[in-house]
């Protein structure tokens, strides 16, 4: 077993085993995770973050493997975070994205990690932001995040990465589907995979029509991920998108937004745990009034929140 201090040293030496242990620690929300993140923090080079999203079976994992291969071929160090759904009943999960990674497994400079969504509904595990921080500190050049199979509204990925690739396949819907809000809007690059299937051209055309009316130019590219057809074009579109964002300041803006969001979420999660415990204490002996309907939960909730805020100020003063 590697203990925490050894783990920091091994991590900083570039030991992938230490990285894997650290990811588990952060994922479990271990109390030591925060200290560990602080201990391995470093300034400087950040990784390029690419998100891959789209419906189940569209070919996200196969495309992810091919993109990773292209980046590895040009000497980049690449990490893959592959999220699959956890059961809402047992918490268990089948994490099967790694099956598609055989062609690249074992390459040096590559780290692959499968994650259960663990109750998160936005398409990615909640632990992704701190895991991304670990991977950046470990020194990866590129991090590719694959979401669970998504439908129309799971858009967390857009607030987690620099560039979003939305993968679809022919035959999933008509031109009205392509007009809807949600996942269609978040694409920086659109991929119509399984382009050898009937209707691929039509699907691509409908998407192009819908995207033309949007605020940004989004390329629609055809691929056959299993054979590698079209992958080079996806890589160069992503490169071009990255360069454009670097030049016009969008990259910095997206990073700011991402960090702020993660910071707010973490601060809120700490307060929310304390608040929940405190509310339960306050409710002791009063539940019958709420249960009977004599006091409504919204009036009660506001009163408690106001009381908690006042209490928060005084307890902070005492701590200082």
């Amino acid at each position: 077993m590697l203990y925490k201090d050894d783990l920091v040293q091994s991590f900083l030496r570039g030991d992938m085993r230490a990285l894997a242990r650290a990811v588990s620690m952060v994922e479990a929300g271990d109390i030591q995770a925060e200290q560990f993140l602080a201990a391995v923090a470093r300034e400087g080079k950040r990784a390029r973050l690419i998100g891959i999203t789209g419906p189940p079976g569209a070919g996200k994992s196969t495309l992810t493997a091919k993109l990773a291969e292209s980046l590895l071929d040009r000497g980049e160090r690449v990490a893959l975070l592959l999220t699959d759904p956890s059961s809402p009943f047992t918490g268990g999960a089948i994490l099967g994205d790694r099956i598609r990674m055989h062609a690249i497994a074992g390459r040096s400079g590559l780290y692959i990690r499968s994650l259960g969504s663990r109750g998160s509904l936005g398409g990615l595990s909640r632990a992704v932001p701190p895991i991304v921080q670990l991977l950046e500190n470990f020194g990866f050049d590129a991090i590719i995040l694959e979401t669970v199979g998504t439908g129309q509204a799971e858009t967390d990925v857009v607030e987690t990465v620099d560039s979003v690739v939305v993968v679809t396949v022919p035959g999933l819907g008509d031109d009205v589907q392509a007009m809807k809000a949600g996942i269609i809007e978040i694409a920086d690059v659109f991929v119509v995979n399984k382009a050898d299937r009937e209707g691929a051209e039509r699907t691509a055309r409908q998407l192009e029509e819908a995207l033309k009316l949007g605020p940004k130019a989004v390329p629609v590219l055809a691929t056959i991920a299993t054979t590698g057809v079209g992958i080079a074009a996806v890589v160069s579109s992503l490169d071009a998108h990255y360069q454009t964002m670097l030049a016009d300041g969008e990259l910095a803006k997206r990073r700011d937004r991402r960090l702020r969001k993660a910071l707010h979420a973490y601060a809120a999660s700490i307060v929310s745990v304390r608040l929940a415990e405190w509310v339960e204490e306050q409710l002791t002996g009063h539940w019958a009034d709420i249960d009977s309907g004599r006091i409504d939960i919204y009036t009660c909730g506001r009163r408690l929140a106001e009381k908690f805020q006042k209490r928060g100020v005084t307890s902070n003063v005492r701590e200082d």
Partner: protein, 134 residues
């Protein structure tokens, strides 16, 4: 960052047979028992299995083999795990394993062998009792 920890299991198929029905049934049952199961597919070398186990930081490696290569591949997985800092990972084997091979496999460090007829419940209980949650 708060949550519970899950038992993570790598279900892997070393060797060249293409039969993964058993492995998939076990994977599904472990999922229903609340574990996170990483399934890596067919025809994996011991080296690939160990690399996946370490990168995924699993608590358990469950090997399924129907080709008769278990006397080589199971001990090799244990050996590589020990060499690469994964000695605390629980290694289990399953498949058509002759009775007479079992003592040597256990001697090599495979903690338990589950042969045809084993109940799913027995496997789940064994993992719950023996996996070291780290």
């Amino acid at each position: 960052m708060s949550g519970r920890s899950f038992i993570r299991v790598l279900v892997a198929k070393p060797g060249l047979d293409g039969h993964d029905r058993g492995a998939k049934i076990v994977a599904r049952a472990l999922r229903d028992a609340g574990m996170e199961v990483i399934y890596t597919g067919l025809r994996q070398t011991p080296e690939q299995i160990v690399e996946a186990a370490l990168q995924e930081d699993v608590d358990v490696v469950a090997l399924s083999c129907l080709s008769g290569a278990h006397n080589y591949s199971f001990p090799r997985v244990v050996e590589l795990l020990r060499q690469q800092g994964g000695a605390d990972i629980l290694v289990l084997g399953g498949g058509v394993i002759p009775e007479e091979d079992i003592p040597a496999l256990k001697q090599s460090g495979v903690k338990e062998i589950f042969t045809p007829g084993t109940t799913i419940q027995a496997i789940v209980e064994f993992i719950r009792a023996h996996a070291i949650q780290r």
